[in-house]
């Protein structure tokens, strides 16, 4: 463990430059550049907001400015979800994508997942800033509760990192995982109260949502950004403890698998 941290510290320059390079590559030669990182999820929010608030208006809290609140609700859920989805889907292919590098150059393999996390986190930070701007523009209050956001993000990141690491390693040996996970993520999105409010669900579905590890974080975001409430502490605490154990297992598996990764890639 200590060795891993030491290796990461020694390679910090490389990881920072890899994250920068990755961002640069993604938006190179596009006119709007990095703003696509924000525009894309926001466009998605706009689509959901228009489609759903006009179709399902009855199911949402009524009143003056209701559709604006719904937009904020959507954003509050979409921002953490897109962090989760990005970490998982990029982790899936991170070893396969870096096969050439891993086979030719000796560097601590743990750098790869950290670079993936770092890139997603930068993305998330920008999106979060845009979100705050939208909240202010739409006349919703921003309170001290916002200080919970880093805690929520951390809990989500630990879970996403652990899941991503396990899936990324398995995907090297069984490529089907990548295909399956794309479908699973879609399903997962709809099993999470992001575009709808959990209360509107039939009871049996509510139980499913209760076991959804991402739900407490999403709910926490919605609470602190829109509803001016505390995040759901108990479920969040459980998630954090569970995720840390999961991450420990994932790292153990990664250590065992690391020598074989290169042989198979």
């Amino acid at each position: 463990m200590n060795q891993m941290l030491l290796a990461l510290w020694r390679y910090r320059h490389f990881m920072i430059s890899a994250i920068k390079a990755d961002l640069r590559t993604r938006f190179n030669r596009s006119k709007l550049g990095a703003s696509w990182m924000i525009l894309q999820p926001l466009a998605q929010v706009a689509i959901y907001a228009i489609v759903l608030s006009s179709l399902l208006a009855a199911r949402l809290p009524a009143g003056k400015g209701a559709h604006l609140s719904y937009a904020v609700y959507l954003i509050a859920g979409m921002v953490p979800w897109s962090l989760f989805a990005e970490v998982v889907s990029r982790s899936l292919t991170m070893f396969v994508d870096n096969a050439g590098l891993m086979k030719k150059i000796a560097f601590p393999r743990i750098c790869i997942p950290v670079i993936t996390l770092g890139g997603a986190l930068v993305n998330h930070a920008l999106l979060l800033m845009a979100t705050l701007l939208i909240i202010l523009i739409t006349n919703h209050p921003v309170t001290w509760l916002i200080l919970w956001v880093p805690v929520l993000t951390m809990a989500l990141l630990v879970f996403a990192a652990a899941l991503g690491l396990v899936l990324g390693v398995i995907n090297v040996f069984v490529r089907d995982v990548g295909q399956v996970m794309n479908v699973v993520l879609q399903l997962w999105f709809w099993m999470t109260p992001i575009v709808y409010v959990a209360d509107v669900l039939p009871e049996q579905f509510q139980r499913v949502v209760a076991f959804n590890p991402v739900a407490p974080v999403i709910q926490g975001y919605q609470n602190v950004l829109l509803f001016q409430q505390m995040p759901p502490f108990v479920r969040l605490g459980l998630l954090l403890v569970g995720s840390l154990v999961f991450l420990g297992l994932a790292l153990y598996m990664f250590r065992k698998a690391a020598p074989e990764l290169v042989d198979v890639l």
Binding site: Y11, H13, F14, S17, A21, N28, K104, V174, V262
Partner: protein
């Protein structure tokens, strides 16, 4: 005795196949599963490398050279045994591997140095030197995707050798771009070597191995089969890749301590070989430019359809100076009867620089010893060249010039 910089102990590498991926995963968590195939590509490799040595690792394709290098550089882990180093290892394996095409040359220097574990401050100190060495002018600040492959190679080599490592691993990829840069990179490698860097060179290029190396290790089927002086190892390797069937290899230590390698089927053999001067007297010491006369007598042990004699003059380090054969000179002998004896008379001038030389002979059926190798005899004969009456010069060849000096 110089310091040890690298020790390879009983290293083996197996690629494991599992009956199902599940048993592979179970294996990581300590559940030993029986059903797996192991394919050993390296077994029981041990050697120790000292400061300043230059070691050539040779072997046929699939002998395990790349696997061994990967284990030494640390990209792949040995299945058994251990590799210990005392110092930094740098590898010039696939130049430009860590480059990102959208970053500029300068940014890539920082990026790939980071990949080798260097900090920004470290690179700040050498960036100017790297830019100078690469000599690609204003392109240094352009994205790498606009580079020609030669330019990318130049930057990559400059980065890889910006810091002098204790051990430098060089793969065949050393043919870096244009001739000018090749000379420049070779000069840098020699400079490192002088400063104490140990070189590990993997190459099929006999000349490169003999020019740079002080020792060679020959791998065959994942094992070290020979470890020693490059000339002898390369001769043995040469014999090894000859016609595999009925090929016997014999090595013998000569009186002067050099190892002679004789290989082949023995169907035709050299029975005597001698070198004479213009007056027909046998010579061992020869003057630069003197006419020489090589007489090779061969005898056929069985009847063979075609016979070609090849001979090669090599210098002290085993570098080929000149070689040809009777296939090239269109003097193939046909229908040789069992027990027949044939004499070849070769006249040539000793247009060689001062030094020690050896002659190797080959008895084959076509222009290569890879098809029918009757006999290949290294160090069949040795002689020395001294400069008695020619103006002073250096080098392996005597190329007499006419120099005119014009003054305005």
């Amino acid at each position: 005795m110089t310091r040890e910089v690298l020790r390879v102990e009983k290293v083996g590498k197996a690629y494991r196949d599992y009956s199902s991926e599940w048993s592979r995963f179970a294996n990581w968590f300590g559940f030993k599963s029986q059903s797996r195939h192991e394919k050993w590509v390296l077994r029981d490799i041990s050697f120790s490398v000292r400061e300043g040595e230059a070691i050539g690792i040779v072997g046929e394709n699939g002998a395990g050279k790349s696997s061994l290098l990967k284990i030494i550089t640390g990209t792949s882990r040995a299945s058994e045994g251990a590799v210990t180093y005392f110092g930094r290892i740098a590898a010039i394996l696939e130049l430009g591997m860590g480059f990102n095409p959208d970053l500029t040359g300068r940014q890539n220097v920082y990026h790939s140095s980071g990949l080798m574990g260097f900090s920004r401050q470290d690179v700040d100190g050498v960036i100017a030197a790297i830019e100078d060495f690469a000599e690609i002018g204003p392109y240094f600040d352009e994205p790498v995707r606009t580079y020609s492959s030669g330019m990318a190679m130049r930057v990559a080599f400059s980065v890889a050798t910006a810091f002098r490592p204790e051990v430098l691993i060089i793969d065949e990829a050393l043919s870096v771009g244009d001739t000018y840069f090749q000379h420049k990179s070779f000069a840098r490698i020699r400079e490192f070597q002088k400063a104490g860097t140990t070189l590990l060179i993997v190459s099929h290029d006999k000349a490169a191995v003999q020019a740079l190396c002080t020792r060679a290790i020959l791998l065959e089927h994942g094992r070290v089969i020979r470890d020693g002086e490059p000339e002898a190892i390369m001769d043995y390797y040469n014999a090894l890749i000859a016609d595999k069937e009925n090929n016997k290899i014999r090595t013998e230590v000569k009186a002067d301590g050099r190892t002679q390698t004789i290989s082949g089927t023995g169907e035709v053999q050299v029975s005597s070989i001698a070198l004479y001067n213009g007056a027909g007297e046998p010579v061992e010491f020869v003057a630069v430019g003197q006419p020489l006369h090589l007489r090779v007598k061969v005898s056929a042990q069985v009847a063979v359809p075609h016979l070609v004699l090849g001979y090669m003059i090599k210098d002290r380090t085993g570098q080929q100076v000149y070689g040809t054969n009777t296939f090239h000179t269109k003097q193939v002998v046909s229908d040789i009867k069992c027990g027949e004896s044939i004499e070849f008379l070769v006249d040539f001038p000793a247009n060689l620089g001062p030094g020690h030389y050896s002659i190797s002979t080959a008895l084959v059926s076509t222009d290569t010893h890879l098809v029918n190798n009757y006999e290949w005899r290294d160090l069949a004969l040795t002689f020395s060249v001294t400069n008695l009456d020619k103006p002073g010069f250096v080098g392996l060849a005597w190329i007499p010039p006419t120099i005119k000096v014009l003054r305005a």
